[in-house]
Symmetry: C2
Subunit: 312 residues, 2 copies
């Protein structure tokens, strides 16, 4: 008798592919093939939260807190470090470069006169610097967006598989805030849940842990970095180490909801002590972002990994 499929396979059987899936996979494949020929490093950065619909005609959904700050900032630093970047992000979450304008209105920054439109003097330098960087790096940046958990997992699987051709040149930086729970399509009501039905009870299933097939099957030679977000400091190091022991990938970056912009810990399999990255008072004063230090650190680790892989 055949063994039952593992839970991650069943997930893909039960949840259909997102729209534009094939076009997106083609774009990803082209980037990977060209990079493989040129021996370019490629970073897949996942960013933003995934949604979990509560109804098939979705009015309500569960979401994960994430504006995409970590992922969009990191994308800029990976580009500047010479990587090609595949930015797999939640639709409408923060994006590299334009993230710096968030919360501001572009129409406060441009001047419209009856016969003339231009950028306001006060904003010329800031917008100029950002536009220049964006225009310089955009040819190295592929942006792919998702909304739901299922969209994300389909695209993650396909991207990891297409990156296999890159071997150890591939780096996966899994910063997206992925839901741990979901409601299987078969258990979801078709229409909007009516409030006249009184209080609502929801039963959510565990999402299969995709890091397992990702590390062993989809991208076995890639350098894989995952994140562990906690709110309780006493759990952070234990949870990060557990994750590494369970999936045997390369680095777990532990961070706390309250301090994630100034402190992270990096756990790997070569040392029992976590490496800490912390912004200093002068870093903060100078507008240094912790993602620049994270990417510097990972770049060195990835170089070492690549070197070992070639000789090993």
């Amino acid at each position: 008798m055949a063994q039952e499929d593992p839970s991650w396979k069943l997930f893909f059987e039960e949840n259909p592919k997102p729209t534009h899936f094939d076009e997106n996979v083609k774009l990803i494949q082209d980037v990977c093939q060209q990079a493989a020929v040129k021996k370019n490093r490629v970073a897949l950065i996942t960013s933003g939260g995934t949604t979990v619909p509560l109804e098939q005609n979705t009015v309500r959904f569960i979401d994960n807190f994430s504006a995409g700050t970590r992922g969009s900032a990191s994308a800029e630093y990976f580009l500047e470090a010479g990587y090609l970047v595949i930015f797999l992000h939640r639709s409408k979450s923060l994006e590299p470069y334009s993230r710096h304008l968030i919360g501001r209105n572009i129409f406060d920054m441009i001047e419209a006169l009856p016969d003339h439109i231009t950028v306001g003097d006060k904003y010329k330098i800031e917008l100029g610097v950002l536009a220049e960087k964006y225009q310089h790096y955009k040819c190295n940046l592929l942006m792919i967006s998702f909304n739901t958990l299922a969209d994300y997992l389909w695209l993650l699987q396909a991207t990891a598989q297409k990156m296999q051709i890159l071997g150890p040149l591939a780096l996966l930086y899994l910063a997206a805030a992925v839901s741990d729970f979901y409601i299987p399509t078969s258990q979801m009501p078709c229409h909007k849940i009516q409030s006249s039905g009184g209080p609502l009870s929801l039963s959510l299933e565990l999402v299969p842990k995709m890091l397992a097939p990702l590390v062993t099957l989809w991208a076995p030679n890639a350098f894989v970095v995952s994140f562990k977000l906690e709110t309780n400091e006493t759990l952070l190091e234990t949870k990060s180490k557990e994750s590494l022991l369970k999936y045997h990938h390369n680095v777990v970056i532990g961070n706390l909801l309250s301090s994630r912009k100034v402190y992270v810990m990096l756990v790997d399999s070569t040392s029992s002590n976590a490496e800490e990255i912390r912004l200093s008072a002068s870093d903060l004063e100078n507008g240094v972002e912790i993602e620049s230090k994270i990417v510097d650190n990972l770049k060195i680790r990835h170089e070492q990994y690549y070197a070992n892989h070639k000789t090993g």
Copy 2:
């Protein structure tokens, strides 16, 4: 023995005010007082979905599908119809004018040369028109943002109360997608729910219907328009009429998730038949938005209401 407080009062007792509440209420009050003196009409437009946290240190939340399309488009048409607009919107949802640029990257629209930055020729007309409108109307527009259900309800109550001074000059256009269910703070876990605990069961309570105190207590003389979104066509008219009968406000606008951009029905207490607004093929071809027709319709209804109020 004193009667127990109604459920809406208990909600405000259990859920603390949002940050910056007092500053925001002061801004709202100033707008209302100045408008009352000048006899300006004021529209409160609520827009976007509310979030319902699942944890006190919130990593996960339930959200309502809404990009803020209806509210942000309507805000533009109310401004053009001569209203002062208080735009109470979900943080980072669509906003008037800038909504037209959504999904596009501003850095594709401006050109950065080493000593010069300007708007690209292809975008000069479009950005010029939008910037001009924005700059013309922004003095009539107060933007206030929210995230959670509780933030929204606190701000809704305060705004409605401050609008009382306007009597029938006030119009409330409740387009926000407000959660029907929530988890009371006292029943919420403090920290991030661990997936190691297995499948997740959630029990959600009904959110008290705030339309009742809004219509009778907070803004008894305002012209109040609410929305009813359904996914099931057969329920739409019944649900819309039920809502009107229950709360005795002025108009319910019924709409379906699938057709909301081309069709709505308006239900009021003066006629047993719903009035329909539907975009024609030529409307669609010419880029007419249904919100322009909704606002035209409501402007006339509000004028009539105001006239009746003065003579009545």
